[in-house]
């Protein structure tokens, strides 16, 4: 009982005084690394875009595939992982009465391990020993150092995941029978996915290491790819779930509304956790060696993930309409005008959500066998994930940064920086419309992804792609301007903005909301169901791939 009183006292002081300096330093460090990665990854992205459009010849010591691998690693792994962990640790600190000293230490150890891992990986990329793309699956083999780096990254992530579990379990012990606050519930879901999703890729990497050293001669490529995508697709949904947490909880507060049903929100999280990992199979939908019937059954598993997303879309627009009508919005659509479009904290995630409409539709196209055959391994796919990750997720992260960073540094968002943020969002949107739009289109025309600029001996079809690739370069340039503006805003808010208090925006539920059922807190049961679903998805194809395995592949260095 004594601890419970202490805890709630600590929670209250935390709410009044804001985050403690120690917890703030932790999250600020994570965010700093994230946005540094954005800057570096952005520069590499621009180089790539210009090269791909035939406008820029890269020097001999820095080839297209090196740039591509580093761009992917920095943005897909570093930016997103560091932002997600930093953001959710701020959430845990704010929601649950400050981080426990033990948990904070674990997060710092995780930070260190991930940085060491990334440095190892990046060194081998710079030495041109690891141009294996961010998907790094065999038969392309990097130097073993690259894979050791990946092991450190995974261990760092696990450290952070277990820190979060300890923090949540401790809070629940001190607050018996209470629901974990909604953002911490999101954090729990994300860390559960991070932990279980990274187990397959760990197995993959541990099998690759002896092969990369040359201790074993061959490797089962199909199994490696399968294990990679069990992780890869989960990672995609981890970013997505992070973005969704801000949509459900933060955005309603910013527009002066209430949260949509608490039960529905928690059910969406639980469904995303349970259904996620087998979804990775749609990345292999035209891989050989997987029976048609298995692929057919997997279409259900993939499309099942779309269901909670549709629930989210409904919930969000319902909140918008309700809030706008309360503010005097009228008509079928004109209530849209009542939303605070001039506030970057709303505008950025709003555009992010809108971008997810075509983004999600494109995803459904890709998980359909026949349609996938048209766009597989073309620029379409690159366009798709620049829309989903590059716009939906990243713009939401940008939007979060305009209140999270000042909250951490005990500063305020000035109108000037808000204006800069609105401009950044608009430039980003325009850049993505050009770049992602061009990528989708040129992909349908057959232009392959992951290929340095070439005209294939002035082949007429290849030449017909050039105008679209020019749009790609224009879009990429706009995006680079957006990156510079965003990084400037983050640095300014972190170190130079005027001192003041910024609130951590968390919307309340409606006054007469129904009580959330308690089973939503039983993570043990949810995890067992998730494991059963994973087994349902993976036992059939994995047994087939292992029992009927081909001789395997030796390591290839194609660059």
């Amino acid at each position: 009982m004594g601890t419970a009183v202490n805890q709630s006292f600590k929670e209250k002081t935390n709410k009044v005084l804001g985050i403690t300096p120690e917890d703030a330093r932790l999250t600020k460090s994570y965010l700093f690394v994230a946005f540094a990665a954005l800057l570096l990854g952005g520069v590499l992205g621009l180089l790539q875009g210009l090269n791909r459009a035939g406008l820029l010849e890269l020097p001999s010591w820095l080839n297209y595939y090196q740039v591509l691998t580093a761009h992917g690693l920095l943005l897909v792994l570093v930016l997103t992982a560091f932002f997600t962990v930093g953001y959710f640790y701020a959430v845990l600190s704010h929601n649950l009465g400050g981080l426990l000293p033990k948990v904070r230490k674990m997060a710092w150890i995780g930070f260190g391990m991930k940085l060491v891992g990334f440095v190892l990986a990046v060194i081998s990329v710079i030495l041109n020993e690891a141009s294996v793309m961010y998907t790094f699956y065999p038969p392309m083999a990097a130097s073993p150092i690259f894979y050791y780096g990946l092991v450190f990254i995974v261990l760092g992530v696990w450290m952070c995941a277990f820190g979060a579990f300890i923090q949540v379990a401790n809070w629940r012990k001190n607050n018996k029978g209470k629901h974990v606050p909604i953002l911490s519930f999101f954090a729990t879901g994300v860390f559960v996915l991070l932990f279980f999703g990274s187990i397959p890729v760990t197995i993959e990497v541990l099998v690759i290491i002896p092969w990369a050293h040359g201790w074993v001669e061959t490797i089962n490529v199909m199994v490696s790819r399968t294990l990679f995508w069990a992780f890869g697709h989960t990672l995609v949904n981890i970013w997505y779930l992070t973005a969704v947490s801000a949509w459900y909880v933060v955005v309603p507060k910013l527009i002066g509304g209430r949260r949509f049903s608490d039960t529905l929100t928690r059910v969406v999280i639980i469904l995303l956790v349970i259904l996620n990992i087998p979804g990775g199979f749609h990345h292999q939908i035209i891989d050989p060696g997987i029976a048609e019937s298995v692929k057919f059954l997997h279409v259900f598993m993939s499309l099942a993930i779309g269901f909670p997303s549709l629930m989210t879309a409904y919930a969000m627009f319902s909140v918008f309409e309700k809030t706008a009508r309360k503010r005097g919005g009228k008509g079928l659509f004109s209530w849209f005008k009542k939303l605070p479009w001039g506030d970057v904290r709303f505008l950025a995630p709003m555009i992010a959500m809108i971008a997810f409409i075509p983004g999600g539709a494109g995803g459904i196209v890709q998980s359909t066998n026949q349609l996938n055959q048209v766009v597989h391994n073309t620029m379409w796919v690159v366009g798709h994930f620049h829309l989903t990750v590059g716009t939906t997720v990243v713009l939401t992260f940008f939007g979060i940064s305009y209140w999270l960073v000042p909250y951490l540094s005990k500063r305020v968002l000035t109108p000037a920086i808000n204006k800069l943020g609105v401009a950044t969002t608009l430039i980003w949107t325009a850049g993505m419309i050009f770049m992602s739009g061009a990528m989708h289109w040129v992909g349908v025309l057959g232009s392959p992804r992951r290929t340095s600029y070439t005209t294939y001996g002035d082949n007429a079809t290849a030449l017909s792609w050039d105008p679209y690739l020019m749009f790609l370069a224009v879009g990429g340039t706009l995006l680079m301007i957006g990156v510079l503006m965003q990084v400037y805003a983050v640095v300014h808010l972190m170190f130079f903005a005027p001192k003041g208090d910024t609130e951590f925006p968390i919307a309340e539920v409606e006054d007469h909301a129904a009580k959330t059922p308690y089973w939503t807190e039983r993570w043990g049961v949810i995890i067992v169901i998730m494991l059963i679903v994973i087994a349902m998805g993976y036992v059939i194809p994995l047994v087939e791939m292992i029992m009927n395995a081909p001789p395997g592949s030796p390591p290839y260095k194609t660059w």
Partner: protein
């Protein structure tokens, strides 16, 4: 309850549609580990209304839950015999028996009994099934010949691994149940509400 009955009944009808049944029965592991559990779930959903309509029947025959669990276990074990899978595919009456026995003789008694038996007895049941699943997994993986005429050896091995992974999931659940004391996290009222 009425809605649940309708959902359960529709699920049963859906599973009985020839194209659905053909697809699910074409893969051994899907036949045993997806179609059969779905049939049990269909019965489980329908059980609520049946309990309401026939309270006396369940009171008289299943007052402490043990006969129901016994019936459920017999039916489940019966359908794990490889030969029965073959017969379900070739003999119409056996197929019909599958569609009746799994929902009504396994799903319905499971729901009625699960509310009546003590938590420790639930753990015993889950432990027994995990041991059985490990044994079946070992049998299907290591047996060098086809146990079912209708399915290839590779499908048999797949089913074996399916058994093993399910057994592992059940063991994880049991470990979680042993290590985590819900009263550390939940108010007694929540617990008793759930039990009720």
């Amino acid at each position: 309850m009425k809605n649940q009955f309708i959902y359960g009944f529709l699920l049963l009808i859906f599973l009985a549609l020839p194209p659905v049944a053909n697809l699910l029965e074409s893969i051994m592991i899907v036949h045993m580990h997806m179609q059969m559990p779905l049939l049990v779930i269909a019965g489980f959903l329908m059980a609520g209304l049946i309990q309401q309509r026939l309270p006396q029947f369940f009171k008289r025959w299943n007052h402490n839950g043990v006969p129901g669990i016994l019936l459920f276990s017999i039916i489940m074990v019966y359908w794990m015999i490889p030969r029965l899978m073959d017969e379900a595919l070739t003999v119409q009456s056996v197929e019909l028996f599958k569609y009746i026995s799994l929902p009504f003789l396994a799903g319905v008694p499971l729901r009625d009994s699960w509310q009546k038996i003590r938590p420790s007895f639930k753990n015993v049941i889950i432990s027994c099934f995990s041991i059985l699943f490990f044994a079946m997994g070992w049998l299907y993986i290591t047996w060098p010949e086809q146990l079912c005429n209708n399915y290839l050896l590779i499908e048999q091995i797949t089913l074996g691994w399916g058994f093993l992974t399910m057994a592992v999931c059940m063991v994880i659940y049991l470990i979680y149940n042993t290590l985590v004391d819900p009263s550390d996290y939940e108010e007694p009222s929540e617990l008793s509400l759930e039990e009720a």
